[in-house]
């Protein structure tokens, strides 16, 4: 259950507020552990249209429809959801020059303990690069507002997908590695 998982609610709030500040009024999502707070925030927000998907690729269509309607949107997905959605991203969003803000939880990267997440984690960045999708990483809450705003700005001006990877240091509060001992002062 979400309550037992050390997913950062505070940093999820920072991400959510940044999405709102960048004009997002439609969020489509498929739940995974790291996204639970974000999805709950969208659900509790009467100014946000939350579309819970059966499969991530649908979210590309929802965002295309929202763009036609003149409404800004974002997709909340796990990196495996990004991999799932690729045909929609390529032959929907990219073919038709559609802005798409992909908010991707960066599973399977450094610090991942779940063996089943590791294979997808190995390829996320390389697949983004292969598709020519501009991407950046969110590590600290203080960099979130500006990066989300800039990613949205680029998506809208380039009419292209832009991806932000929500990394473990941002989303996961569990301390896994103690800091190295400080060197004695010389």
């Amino acid at each position: 259950m979400p309550g037992k998982m050390p997913v950062s609610e505070a940093n999820s709030r920072v991400v959510y507020d940044a999405l709102k500040a960048s004009g997002v009024r439609v969020v489509s999502a498929l739940p995974e552990t790291w996204l639970v707070h974000l999805i709950k925030m969208a659900e509790d927000d009467s100014d946000m249209i939350l579309v819970r998907l059966a499969k991530e690729e649908e979210g590309v269509g929802v965002s295309m429809g929202a763009h036609f309607a003149g409404v800004r949107s974002a997709l909340l997905m796990q990196n495996h959801g990004f991999l799932q959605a690729i045909n929609g991203i390529v032959s929907g969003a990219m073919l038709y020059h559609m802005p798409l803000l992909l908010m991707v939880s960066d599973r399977g990267h450094l610090g991942e303990r779940d063996p089943w997440q590791t294979e997808g984690g190995r390829y996320t960045r390389r697949v983004l690069d292969a598709l020519g999708i501009v991407h950046d990483e969110l590590h600290r809450p203080d960099e979130v507002p500006v990066k989300v705003d800039r990613a949205m700005t680029l998506a809208q001006s380039s009419l292209s997908p832009v991806a932000l990877l929500m990394t473990r240091p941002l989303m996961w509060e569990e301390v896994q590695v103690p800091p190295p001992p400080a060197k004695p002062q010389q």
């Binding site: 579309v51 590309v60 269509g61 965002s63 429809g65 036609f68 929609g88």
Partner: protein
């Protein structure tokens, strides 16, 4: 019945709605009846026409949105039916032309040729107002009933596996895309407007 006859028969009813069609024969046939800036032809991304219709319908609840889908496309995104049902936009009509075939890519039979019932799928997904039509009168009545009322509706029309000779239209897909986006920034009028 033929899909082209169906489209001809409802053209005036849907002409002011936001219309999202799937690729291939359906696009080409609608285009041949008269292109309008409020028609969008999804020439690829099979399965996503209904998802585009959903996003549009949720964002513009005062505009009527009609999706012209097909059996091959719907079978690629059956989960999308459950998402449509979940949000049930009152301004969305999903029309599925079921010719039991992937006509646009050579006519291979789809699973509806071997027993899959898309009306049952839609109903089972939660779209209660789902009807099947096997003749033109029933089809036209069902479309007019849906467009005369409110609420998410789905019509599965059984049609012959025939289409136009070619799928090339005289406007470029990007031209259509930007024209459609511009049309969606204008307020809906006449039959395109929800009561």
């Amino acid at each position: 019945m033929k899909r082209l006859e169906c489209l001809q028969a409802i053209y005036e009813d849907i002409q002011d709605c936001a219309v999202v069609t799937i690729m291939g024969a359906t696009s080409a046939e609608l285009h041949s009846l008269g292109h309008r800036p409020n028609f969008f032809y999804l020439t690829h991304a099979m399965g996503l026409a209904s998802s585009i219709g959903l996003g549009l319908a949720l964002c513009q609840p005062s505009r009527r949105v009609v999706v012209l889908d097909g059996d091959g496309s719907v079978l690629m995104n059956l989960g999308g039916l459950s998402t449509l049902a979940r949000y049930g936009p009152r301004n969305l009509l999903e029309i599925i032309f079921d010719n039991e075939s992937l006509l646009s890519v050579g006519g291979f039979p789809t699973a509806t040729a071997t027993g899959t019932d898309l009306a049952a799928c839609a109903r089972g997904a939660g779209i209660a107002n789902t009807v099947s039509a096997t003749n033109l009168d029933d089809f036209v009545s069902a479309v007019r009933a849906a467009l005369g009322g409110e609420g998410l509706a789905c019509i599965v029309a059984k049609v012959e596996a025939v289409g136009p000779a070619g799928y090339i239209v005289d406007t470029h897909m990007l031209e259509d895309r930007f024209m459609f986006a511009r049309a969606m920034r204008q307020p809906p009028h006449n039959g395109g407007k929800m009561p």
